[in-house]
Symmetry: C2
Subunit: 471 residues, 2 copies
Amino acid sequence: MAGSAKDRLAGEVAEIVGGPQVLTEPDLMAGYLVDWTGRWRGPARFVARPATTEEVAGVVAACARHHTPLIPQGGNTGLVGGGVPGPDRASGPSARPDPGLPVVLSLGRLEVVEPIDTAARQVTVGAGVTLGRLQLAAEQAGLAFGVDLTARDTATIGGMVATNAGGVHVLRYGPMRAQVVGVEAVLAGGQVISRLTGLEKDNVGYDLSGLLVGSEGTLGVVTRARLRLITRPRARVTALLGLSGTAAAVDLLAQLDLPSLTAAEIFYADGVERVGHHTGLAPPFPTPSPAYLLLECAGPTDPTDELADALDSAGPVHDTAVATDSTSRAGLWAYRERHAETVAALAGAGAPHKLDVSVPVAHLAEFEARVRGLIQQVHPGAIAVLWGHVGDGNLHVNVVGPDPNDEAVDDAVLRLAASLGGSISAEHGIGRAKLPWLALVRSQAELAALQAVKTALDPARLLNPGVLLPG
Amino acid sequence: MAGSAKDRLAGEVAEIVGGPQVLTEPDLMAGYLVDWTGRWRGPARFVARPATTEEVAGVVAACARHHTPLIPQGGNTGLVGGGVPGPDRASGPSARPDPGLPVVLSLGRLEVVEPIDTAARQVTVGAGVTLGRLQLAAEQAGLAFGVDLTARDTATIGGMVATNAGGVHVLRYGPMRAQVVGVEAVLAGGQVISRLTGLEKDNVGYDLSGLLVGSEGTLGVVTRARLRLITRPRARVTALLGLSGTAAAVDLLAQLDLPSLTAAEIFYADGVERVGHHTGLAPPFPTPSPAYLLLECAGPTDPTDELADALDSAGPVHDTAVATDSTSRAGLWAYRERHAETVAALAGAGAPHKLDVSVPVAHLAEFEARVRGLIQQVHPGAIAVLWGHVGDGNLHVNVVGPDPNDEAVDDAVLRLAASLGGSISAEHGIGRAKLPWLALVRSQAELAALQAVKTALDPARLLNPGVLLPG
């Protein structure tokens, strides 16, 4: 806390969390002030790292007393700038702490995984627990967690709740919202609300827990979550199919009536080629296919025959690779999961444009076909790398080429999605990145209702200002 | 509309919905002013029966202009007085319409079932569509709806959304909340908000649809809902087991690891005996058992062997009856479903006390054992009839004996549930009935947050005043 002796708020917060957990030095703060894509960054007054709900409540109350905005931050794996401070409004560095700067509230130290209730198949975890730790704990209890995503070893449960994270299993188990029985959270004034009893049926008043899910830290700071666990699948099979395109993938998926299906990921020839260049992975098949569909089935009994039978009676497939052991499964998943780092490498020092959209599944092929042309039209020479979750109508459109602050491509892509009845954010949220396009997909009445809810729970607008809602 | 010539609001509403759809005569209004148990009743200025979302919006806007409260009403099958006017504050009948009286807004004419989207497995239905009609429409499309309850031919989707209805399949498919992709609703000023696009992933702003689910008509009037449908199970098996008590039922259920389980209903020897007296149904087994567990499994393949194997390796069972055809299945379900009418008959002209509570499943046996003694202690000679959903820790405690307005038994039962970490309302909601006990299960901070959300969306407090929240 050296260098902040003049900052009374920092002093009060240090009393609550301990001096070493208040970071004021630029080099100590640096990692908290920029998102991992490098696209979003801004200054903060200091970083506070509370370890308990009580400490969080104390910090939030102190900030409220000092009218100081707060940026809640989890694993900082978000892609829309919702977990880092906004760009500085001040003209330059100053020797004195700017009272208008926000405090970053890092939840990483709330990392308790409480004992798993195997009878109820539920667990309560702290906001700072990573998805990977939760998955491991569930596995050790003979259970599993219904959400999985590539950033599993960094993304934290608090952030995943706050953003209603999706991932690869939504078509089977739903997004975070479907896993949350209830949350404990600190409201804008420092009040703690708690719904950790684990009751599956509790129709008493508005669903505040559900309201906090996906609220991106603007209505309250999630400190703990009570989560559902699922039966751990005893057997699993993964298949990578080479297909003629998005339409073939959509058609094939519609024909498969597989209750055991847990994932249906799509990616494309150009993406696989770039992944190969970047990672050294050999191509999955001797001849490239325009599109690849990665299917995974899991259940209490071996789903291999079920998947094979379903594929036999479905549409034409160019190539098929099947994995039934964990090593070969990881090999197939690598083609999908290493897309993100490949795009990051392509972008080099700049940040790729990461546009996460959904459209009705019936329009997915049309969207994919049109969006590639549109990107070239708006920014000739741009590299577009697409992948996504076919079953959810969700494509991640990654664009490398335009300057990170040149939003012409973003505008075109988001308008196309909206024009097809889709969403400008399937699973990443609005954050700072999508704010300019909110009105494409929400009416004035809806935006007014969102603002009213925000004002009701955070009248001073101190929680994550500039995120999810303007102002 | 005869007799209301002096009521300017009624005139305006008649312009919107048509004169015959504004009911002002006492005999025409009567059915809308009392709930089906007879416990809750109150006067209204008139009843309006709009047929479209636009008409609902017009009526709501007119009432807002006239500062007149509105009581949204669906199939009027609620059990907590949330869909009928509150008791009259006036001293007696008057020749002139009392401007303080609410308008009942009956949604029964919003009865369109839109064409089912079989690819997305979704359907959009009007608020006035009964559960039974939705089930039939889904069935005709080769699909099914995930919620079922005894009042299926009267309960409407709007009311079921507004109360987050539960029913017998929650343990498999979740409550209404889990079926709702999005809703269309009219807010307190008459603004329409709509989320009927069917996008499964749409992380854009707060989940207003989810907030409206379970809000009991106090935040908006649900006019349409976009609902998920499920694969229609091709085969089904039902088993009625005679058991030694609640603990045995809980233990047995915990031992069954049956992914195909769709229902686990519990009821008791005294209830079955009373059902027999009232309905003439023969006892299920020659020798009564203290408790009965009704299990149903359904899936793509015949689950009969799976259930039999699971029961073989589970705990001791006194008696077992298995039904694999629809007639014998209905016969087994009758023991469960005819409890409600039996209790209504026992209560005669009075209304039974219907206390719907949940506790952690681990405490269900303790709750059941203690609640019976407690009821006798508070009101010696009272008849207590219990049934419920074991998997959800949800018991319906029905009490006949105390005057409907004598709430001593209610108080004791709800306090017992709360003391065991349970809820004062598992699936019926708060309505008017449970309001006095809200603070047993929600903190001051939580109640303040609920009030803030209410004020944000209905600042004049015109939507269902006196329901879910005080004031």
